[in-house]
Amino acid sequence: MVSTARTWFVRTLCAAALAAGMVGIAAAQQPIKIGFSMALTGGLAGAGKGALIAMEIWRDDVNKKGGLLGRPVQLVYYDDATQPANVPGIYTKLLEVDKVDLVVSAYGTNLIAPAMPIIMRKKLVFPSLFGLGVNEEFNYDRYFQIMPSGPDPKVDWTRGFFALAMEQNPKPRTVAIVAADAEFALNAAAGARKNAQNAGLKIVYDKTYPPATTDYTPIVRAIQATNPDIVFVGSYPPDSVGMVKAANEVGLKTKLFGGGMVGLQFAAIQKNLGPMLNGIVNYDFWVPEPTLKFSGVEEFLAKYREAAKGKGVDPYGHYLPPYAYAYLQVLGQAVEATKSLDHGKLAEHMHKTEYDTVVGKVKFGKNGEWARSRVLQVQFRDVQPDNLEQFAGPGKRIVLYPKEWKSGDIVYPYKQ
């Protein structure tokens, strides 16, 4: 009887010790939760899903190396359906219900801005993915933008396009500015207007169009009627396709065409437009040119290409995915360096440190934008019809600007 009681006592003691140990291990391995909203359906879902793939690659890479601060990393995310109205609710849930440790932004200006009031109230560090000039209104000192727009984002964003134009001979004298009636395109057009004025160009056409426009040929004809030397377009993917096709069909004659067309960076659209792209000068952030071989980018893109198979997203992922990986790299490096999840310490570190990422060295300025702009202006060259593979390698998007990343000279004019 005594023996049975003793056995029971020893067993209970062992079980209690084991349970305590398990709790201890569990506490030590409690994941660091990073929360965000992402466009997985709706208009920006093509890019949003690509960004998510990149973020999952980063999570797996980090967890393979033992996580952050010895804890595994977990991504907690919800689909915002590309609806800005959904974003505040998502971040409230992430913070109040899911109790995430860190947050990062969704993709795109329209979906970053609605999260800002909540993030600011909680004083959180907020690495952001491709928002143009979001912090100009908020002036939040813990906002960090991975898109390399530069310290004066709206103006820096189009500076290269106009700088290139003014280097050419004969010098352009007039410009047409056309943009979609939506946050990003309007910001880009505002910057273009300022750069045009600074360059002494006469603005002969300055109009916006609703994003639901079906046929762009009347718009291109109206632009052509003003006979501009430069045509700057701020557009989203479907309108970019419409504009390029309309310019080709109408036979738009101008010296420089492009600037701020979103969508021309995506492989499916590039393949479809084919030779119609030749000569267009447009912004980009990364292209497979020899001047942009940053450490780790090729390895990351190889993983992305594998992960993207069959998911209906951009197969090469040159545009957004490297930056989606990089903004988590910055956050991860800050956590490891400060050995803390304290948002004050993280923000301080992110303001004063230069980070090594797959998109090169990243240093933030006072307003959380890149301290120095690196918006590339690339020119489509020698694009062949119906060939997707041609965009995987160099030679099709020549970097013209900035000079330190230049991989070739401009072909000028576009069409005369």
Binding site: Y209, T213, P238, G242, K245, V250, A268, N272, V313
Partner: protein, 290 residues
């Protein structure tokens, strides 16, 4: 500045655009205009048609218009099946007004989500020899990307118009909305007529979808931007009038194109819908409504 060539090009571009709008709205002119069913999911069927064109065009290189025509019978069957569900669940019990609307909203989201799950969210486009090419007559440009949809839309509208006017079933479709009892007294089953008409309306979405993807890139949610336009065209033309719908579509296209050219594209939706309001103020039953 208004010049002759700008004006001529704007009017021609508007006609071509209007033709495409007619193809988008013709199914709704039957379903909403004649059967009085608020099929808010019609643009989602058009997107399904666009994806059908994309899949077969990218795999086998078949012309998108041909794919639209070949897919139309399948869409007809799908439409007829959907009407049976709608009739059984809502119309038969007199709950079609609000519950029916919710049904079609749900259907729209289901189509979108299925397309997202199966094909992802990237923009889809088709290849055809005539896309990107233009035909120039004098100083007027006719981009084939817009001309082909216009020609197909004219043929589709003429076909539907003749079918409704000249055939027994066509007349029965027109009659079912006006006097269901009279149709029953003539020995015709109104439910079967409505089922047939609903199927016909959905069949046109296969062709309209093929035309849409010829004009520009498509992703699963892009159909939403055509909901307002398609309903406006049907109302402007006069509920149930096919010829009225076609003329209304051309008017909307021309107004949009003129505004895009001479006033600024931002004004286009406001002016186009202003024309709709003005017309309805003067003729509450629409241009050709009875």
């Amino acid at each position: 500045m208004v010049t002759a060539d700008l004006l001529a090009n704007a009017v021609v571009a508007g006609l071509l655009l209007g033709g495409f709008y007619a193809a988008v709205a013709i199914g709704l002119a039957i379903i909403f205009g004649q059967l009085d069913i608020v099929n808010i999911a019609h643009p989602a069927f058009i997107i399904a048609g666009a994806y059908t064109a994309y899949i077969l065009n990218s795999r086998f290189g078949i012309d998108p218009v041909l794919i639209g025509v070949l897919a139309a019978p399948l869409f007809f069957l799908a439409g007829a099946g959907i009407y049976r569900v709608y009739y059984g669940a809502f119309e038969r019990t007199g709950q079609e007004s609000l519950s029916g609307l919710a049904f079609f909203f749900g259907l729209m989201f289901i189509i979108e989500v299925v397309l997202i799950l199966v094909y992802g969210v990237d923009y889809r486009l088709v290849q055809a020899g005539y896309i990107g090419e233009s035909w120039r007559i004098g100083f007027v440009d006719l981009p084939f990307r817009m001309l082909v949809p216009f020609v197909v839309a004219v043929a589709l509208t003429a076909g539907i118009y003749l079918y409704l006017a000249r055939t027994f079933t066509g007349r029965a479709i027109q009659a079912v909305a006006q006097d269901r009892l009279a149709l029953q007294l003539m020995g015709v089953n109104p439910i079967r007529v409505k089922q047939w008409a609903f199927g016909l309306g959905i069949a046109t979405a296969a062709i309209a979808g093929a035309l849409l993807i010829i004009i520009g890139p498509v992703e699963p949610s892009v159909g939403r931007q055509y909901i307002g336009r398609a309903f406006a065209i049907v109302v402007l033309g006069g509920m149930g009038s096919i010829s009225g719908m076609f003329i209304a579509a051309l008017i909307l296209g021309i107004v949009e194109s003129l505004v895009n050219t001479f006033m600024g594209p931002s004004w286009a939706p406001a002016v186009a819908f202003g024309v709709l309001l003005l017309t309805l103020a003067l003729r509450p039953s629409g241009l050709f409504g009875r």
